[in-house]
Amino acid sequence: MLYALCFLLFMTGLYCAVVKKNMVKIVIGILVMEYAVNLFLIMLGYRTNGIAPIVGRSDLEAGEISELFISSTVDPLPQALVLTAIVISLGSLALMISICIRTYEKYGTFDITQIRRLKG
């Protein structure tokens, strides 16, 4: 159910990026897609009533990791992936917005139907 909602969010972003005519709205659509994928990654590792994946002192002293720990921690790997993905999307967002601003300076509009010198 949650996965379906997440997929819906992804499709909403894709629709926005493909259909909208305003450059800034297209950028927002792409960002919504990115958030949907990030949310999906987080949900992959999520566990209801899970604990933080940090090995405790008692486990270290026992020399092995307890069954309880393995069966109740959330998966930390997707969280690391999401952090990386967020940093990347920040970089591409900054570039996208700066291209939008420069285009606005040149053309005086954000409407992509009026920004079309390239054809063929």
């Binding site: 992804f10 990026a17 792409i30 990654l41 990347i88 591409s92 291209i99 079309r116």
Partner: protein, 503 residues
Amino acid sequence: MNVPLPVFVVLPLIAAFLLPLLGKKYKTAATVLANVVTILLLLLAIGSIGQSRVYEVGKWPIPLGINMVLDGLSALLLLAIGVVSTAAMLFSVRYMEQYTAKAKFLCLFLLMVAGMNGVVLSGDIFNLFVFLEIASIASYALVGFGCEHEELEASFKYMVLGSIASMFVLFAVALVYGNTGTLNMAYISEAIEVSGLNIGLGFALALFIAGFSLKAALVPFHAWLPDAHPSAPAPISAMLSGVLIKALGVYALCRIVFNMFGVSIQLGWLLVTLGILSMIVGAFLAIGQWDFKRLLAYSSISQIGYVVLGIGLGAVILAGDGEVATASLAILGGLFHLLNHAVYKSLLFLTSGSVQMSTGTREMREMGGLADKMPVTRTTCTIASASIAGVPPFSGFWSKLILVIAAVQAGFYWIAAVIVFVSLCTLIMYLKVQRYVFLGELGENLGEVKENKGSMQIAMVSLACLCVLMGLLLFVPGLRENILEPAVKVLTDGLEYSSIVMK
């Protein structure tokens, strides 16, 4: 030479961070540094031919840490990236004097090279995505480097489609992780072999194919390429058409289809269809163009079609229990064409840049009669045109010949016919280039045109020599066995990949 594999990524990254610090004051130093780095990378790539190694980043054992894998296919792509980036960098020494902020250009250039090297070496699917984004973001910025009307528009278009493609890939990576529980390509392929293709993995495969086809600009995903490639400065057009669409698109597609998911007949036919569509549509659209660089860009779509066709044909034969020798031949044709295309298309873009720098226009109707004014550019452009059209002694002929032989051996006569037909269309479009740019009467306002000297000439002439000599790769025994055969073997062995990494 046994350098650690991360050097291929770290070296250009460090140089890219140093270059903006050198800035305007020490522009010559920055240029020299960037050139030294690309030449070093080329030498390292030549040194890594014929090797097969796995490197564990940070000494973490394989399923836990990130790994980098060098095998035949990676080495082939590294070589292509090395050759094209060295030539383009040499060319831009003089060409980029027209622009301000040369140091920033060099920085972005090296970031792109680092990203591409990372993509072809990575053995970890999420890491591949990260490097893909590094190379893509640098290329978005480089396409819009001139900051004029058309360049910004093209850059935005490229960026939107490129970002959507990246999101598809990231989504697919998440799906694969959810279904197999690992990000290492070798372990993923093993898990898929055991579990078979369920709905989630099938959807991930579809997303991968859509995402990487967008990056490779296969028809029907090609809309951004004819705008983006001509708008970039000439050395960058050469890099984009020469290696970027191959490293990010075709290479990643091959890795995913052959080494992770395993080939099937349907997948093979999908690749063949994409390839044939790209070949025909690209060629037809190219013939009608009057903008020099735009024509070259459409022709890139057409030529990428050949590569994907060869690889797809190999997949069809492999999955259909055909002769492995025929499948190898088809894949060999595809990969050899990839290498050839990297050389001659980058040469063509460099000559177009040289013409544009001298005449100040890309419109072919305003040119003409440049043969006497620019002899070196003319000669190199003719060699590259003959090569791309498949005139016998030059490199393009051999790769197309192999593709035709493979298609006939496999019994697909109509595919052989399509290959020959598109080759004819290619010949027509390059005759048009020769006729309108270099022959005929001297265009108006072109009396003062001069040939470009120095580094630009060296870059063009050395690529032209390669164009002539590439045929040797097939006939000199040592070269073929060391460069092409291992790359073909990686693909025909398919799922063996995982056992090589995990041994």
